[in-house]
């Protein structure tokens, strides 16, 4: 069974930011996880590569949590016909 998207996002975030994946609360703000805006932009670059999608600058601004990220990447996949 393929890994669900949130689990994969948590894995990638854990690796990028050296945070224990088990402790990553999807509803917690990225800021509270110690992820600053520059680090997040670099992370998004890797997410876009991983999933083969592009998240617009406008959408990027509204991503405040991992749950937000999951929703936007899911929507981008659907729009690209990959979901």
């Amino acid at each position: 069974m393929p890994m669900d998207m949130l689990t994969r996002l948590k894995q990638l975030a854990a690796q990028e930011f050296s945070i224990d994946a088990a402790k990553l609360d999807p509803a917690a703000s990225l800021e509270s996880l110690g992820i600053d805006s520059l680090s997040f932009i670099e992370f998004m670059f890797k997410i876009e590569e991983e999933f083969g999608v592009a998240v617009s600058d406008e959408d990027l601004k509204s991503i405040k949590t991992l749950s937000d990220l999951e929703r936007h990447v899911g929507a981008a996949l659907a729009a690209a016909g990959k979901a």
Partner: protein, 407 residues
Amino acid sequence: MRRVAITGIGVVSPLGNDLQEFHRSLAEVKGGIRRLPAEVARSSGVQAGATVQWDSAPLLTPGEAANIDRVSQFALGAAAQALAASRLDPATADRTRIGVSWGTGMGGALSVDASYQEVYGKNQWRLRPLTVVMAMNNAAGSNVAVKHGLRGPFANFSTACSSSAMALGEAMRTIQGGRADAMVAGGAEALLAPGTLAAWQALRTLAPADANDAAASCKPFDKRRAGLVLGEGAAAVVLEDEAHARKRGATIHGFLTGYGNSCDAAHMSRPDKDGQIRAMREALHESGLQPADIGYINAHGTATSVGDVVEAEAINTVFGESGVRVSSTKSLHGHLLGGAGALEFAVAMLALEEGLLAPTAFLEQPDPACELNHVAMKSERVPPPKAVMSNSFAFGGSNVVLIAQRN
């Protein structure tokens, strides 16, 4: 005038990634120059390099290491060692009184090279967002400041091969002027990327790999010298106001007492004797020393045909018959370019503190045109001298000379 004490040194080098291993390699004359990977040699034409055997762990997590250029990783490694050795803990000190003075020739050259490969090599114009902050010239020093929360004066020098010597000299000025109690000063370079190597190869100043022993490819002052060998790495020194150091009971390894800085203003790459002489004399004058007080010079000695002769003439003009001992340890650790001045200052400090003179390795056939009192082939133990000198003479005509004294 405040005196500037040296309270900690750290290195990441082709001769080892801590001061102890660095010293051991110098003492045992174990070189760090190697053959570069075949595919690099084939494409760039550069056969030999002095590479660092580097593992970013445990200094950095894998995630951090992926986002920090190799040159900054070296800087972080050397600075952490220097601070630990000095036992100056920024957490309990006034961080606004501790600054960073750094030097590098080409900064994040590997990140620049990677981005050019994407754009021009693969027509891939979507670059990683951290490209700029990884590549910029001040990234290495800034990473040091961020890591340790050093909020005092910050400066970054980029004068090719004299960059980090200048960083030490200007850090000395900053402390003398009362603008900081301590400075982490040093330099780093990491540019062994195909594009950069090809550019260096085009200059026709690089030595080919020695056919019998790649480690012996760089032979300063030798009749057989064929050019320089590029290296990578970093060195950092904690410089501190003497009173500040004494108040906290720090171990003082010596004092940085002389800083000569001149420009040839003559040619972009050909060195000029007069500029070098002026820099050495300025450093001596500032130290209040006579040439006979200097017990050892770590020469710039890159092993180019012209450069070594000019430097030998300059040293002989300043030092006359004093017979000062001279070596170029680039024969062992290669040319760290922007990191060279700081790393070679660490070599000079070994002579000052322990009386261990690291040699010009592979100097079997001294060139009569480079007549000096060479420390050749083998390291030597001598009574620790009163003072030592380190020369850094750069493309662009920048000459920097540092003098350290025992007390």
